[in-house]
């Protein structure tokens, strides 16, 4: 697939990373540009480029100043030379053969004891808990990025009827918890403090350090949730 390059802005993220910002939005086309650029730059990577951090609408390139500096002699900063390299690689259309990972279905138990915030969310939105479950499982979601915690998938976008902002005070959230934050839905792979509205829990292991690919979900993947009973959850 050919990718037109949408306008972007480049800024330094400290002295050892640079961010390419495609706009402060959650948008599928923007996210596709992020991943197309990620693949383009990765294919043409240079010594001293350490890694890439793709996010919703930005791509960050981490580099090692000492290694890159060995190639930079014209009085430029390492930052400027990396910036020029990025602009050169992204300045024309390029193709990106996206291998879309298979859709994955994820069982979620929405029973109250695994869903501490579902009642409150339902009440706030004038729905019943059943309706929240119905809406959350009625469509599939795209994994826009992994971040925050190992294997934490940021997915979107949820139906406007169940959109709800983060909580003001972070709570302790248990592994497998499925939550909503604004238009996003996500799953906590590990116990962590967090502000997401927890509406269920999956018995699946989202991150396994013994696996070659430790993260269950990948960016670009489509996820479909389905509801399981408490009994099914406990015997999964």
């Amino acid at each position: 697939m050919k990718y037109p390059i949408i306008p972007y802005r480049i800024f330094p993220l400290g002295d050892s990373a640079i961010t390419i910002d495609f706009g402060n939005v959650i948008d599928e086309d923007v996210n596709n540009s992020v991943f197309a650029s990620y693949h383009q730059l990765q294919q043409h990577s240079l010594p001293g480029i350490i890694e890439f951090i793709p996010a919703y609408s930005s791509l960050t390139v981490c580099y090692d100043i000492v290694t890159v500096k060995k190639r930079v002699h014209n009085g430029k900063t390492v930052f400027e030379s990396i910036k020029e390299w990025i602009e050169d690689k992204l300045h024309r259309q390029f193709s990106f053969d996206e291998t879309v990972p298979a859709e994955i279905t994820i069982p979620v138990c929405y029973a109250a004891e695994y869903a501490p915030d579902i009642e409150q969310l339902a009440r706030t939105k004038g729905l019943s808990a059943e309706e929240v479950i119905e809406i959350h499982t009625s469509k599939s979601y795209k994994v826009y990025m992994l971040g925050f915690l190992p294997g934490f998938a940021y997915m979107g976008e949820v139906d406007v009827r169940i959109e709800m902002p983060r909580k003001q005070q972070p709570q302790n959230i248990l592994p497998g918890s499925v939550g909503i934050a604004g238009k996003q839905t996500g799953i906590y792979p590990f116990a962590s403090p967090g502000g997401w509205q927890i509406i269920g829990r999956t018995p699946l292991k989202l991150f396994d350090i013994d696996n070659e690919n430790p993260a269950l979900l990948q960016a670009g993947q489509t996820v479909q949730f389905y509801s399981i009973s408490k009994n099914e959850f406990e015997n999964y």
Binding site: F11, P12, L13, G14, D15, S16, A17, T19, D21, N24, V25, I26, Y38, I50, E51, F52, I53, P54, A55, Y56, S57, S58, T60, C62, I65, V66, K69, T77, V78, F79, E80, M145, L146, G147, F148, L149, P150, G151, F152, Y154, F190, S192, F207, I209, P214, A215, A219
Partner: protein
């Protein structure tokens, strides 16, 4: 060949330069908080600079050596002793079988490093020996060191000929100490959301000290400060953050992200501490004050290159001295 923990410290972990190439999966690099001190300890014992070491917090573990070994301490000064005799940082020390290494009080700094000749025999995870406490991976079984743990060494050379029946011997040279310094000023680069701060808050940021609160750990330091004000509250979509990123929290307080930071975040990034000054940050304790001063990209890069040259020179000098010394003693 190993060392044994006979009393556990509060948080002692195996760390190296960090785990890179996995941030796209949300796996943070981690690694030593003070990478400069960590590399200095490695240089002293003639290791590759990236070799895994033990990072110590005070109160630190008490260690017992199973066989003679060469060790070096660096970073924070926790008033170390071997069998009760004080020993200094930044020296190579030949320790004997059954020697006990312990730490008595925190004199300065927050994190000390213990390197052994040849390095520790530990299993790497995703290419790094660093301990990731959150997901219990890497280092020594993915956790902090506990009583009775035995950490094996890679090297099996018998160093008893260096000791000549003494309990331990401090070899006759040391690393110079121009790095790290104990300055409480750190240079920062403005972050992408720097201009969200009001003029008064910008001024406050660069002219008043910020205190490290006790809500500070390997993930980040919460700073106690008069709240800074922001001219925009537009929500940010999550994107990358890094070691040294200074985020503005909704209540106007600041948090500085450290080695175990999350990979992405959504708070305004008002500034970033330059890489060359991460070790200064790493050696701050609860209650310490810190001053931020703005600099530019060129200066930040130059300081890091200087630090790198210093480390390479140190490594060459140490390796040379150590090889000569070992040869002289028949190794």
């Amino acid at each position: 060949m190993s060392l044994k923990i006979i009393k556990a410290g509060v948080l002692d972990t195996i760390q190296d330069l960090g785990r890179y190439g996995n941030q796209q999966l949300g796996i943070n690099p981690g690694g030593a908080m003070d990478k400069f001190a960590m590399q200095t300890a490695n240089a002293l014992v003639g290791n590759d600079l990236s070799e895994a070491v033990i990072e110590l917090h005070y109160p630190a573990s008490v260690f017992l050596f199973s066989q003679p070994a060469l060790i070096a301490l660096s970073g924070a000064d926790f008033s170390a002793s071997i069998n009760g005799e004080p020993v200094a940082n930044l020296h190579v020390i030949a320790v004997n079988k059954n020697d006990a290494l312990q730490f008595h009080r925190p004199v300065n700094g927050a994190r000390a490093y213990l390197a052994v000749y040849g390095g520790f025999e530990i299993e790497k995870w995703l290419g790094s020996g660093s301990t990731n406490l959150k997901i219990k991976a890497g280092g020594f079984h993915g956790r902090g060191l506990k009583k009775s743990d035995e950490i094996p060494f890679k090297c099996s050379i018998d160093f008893s000929a260096l000791l000549n029946k003494k309990e331990f011997r401090v070899l006759p040279w040391s690393a110079d100490t121009c790095f790290p310094d104990d300055s409480k000023e750190v240079l920062v680069l403005p972050g992408n959301e720097w201009d969200r701060l009001t003029v008064t808050s910008k001024e406050m940021f660069s002219s008043t000290p910020f205190v490290v609160t006790k809500q500070s750990d390997r993930m980040g330091y919460r700073l106690g400060n008069n709240p800074l004000s922001s001219i925009s509250t537009e929500e940010l979509i999550s994107s990358a953050v890094g070691f040294g990123t200074i985020q503005l929290l909704p209540d106007g307080k600041l948090i500085v992200l450290m080695a175990d930071h999350q990979t992405t975040g959504g708070y305004p990034r008002i500034a970033h501490v330059i890489t060359a000054h991460h070790s200064r940050l790493a050696q701050l304790k609860t209650g310490d004050g810190i001053w931020f001063r703005l600099t530019d990209q060129l200066a930040a890069e130059e300081l890091l290159l200087q630090q790198d040259r210093h480390l390479l020179q140190l490594q060459n000098a140490c390796t040379f001295r150590l090889q000569q010394y070992l040869q002289k003693h028949g190794y």
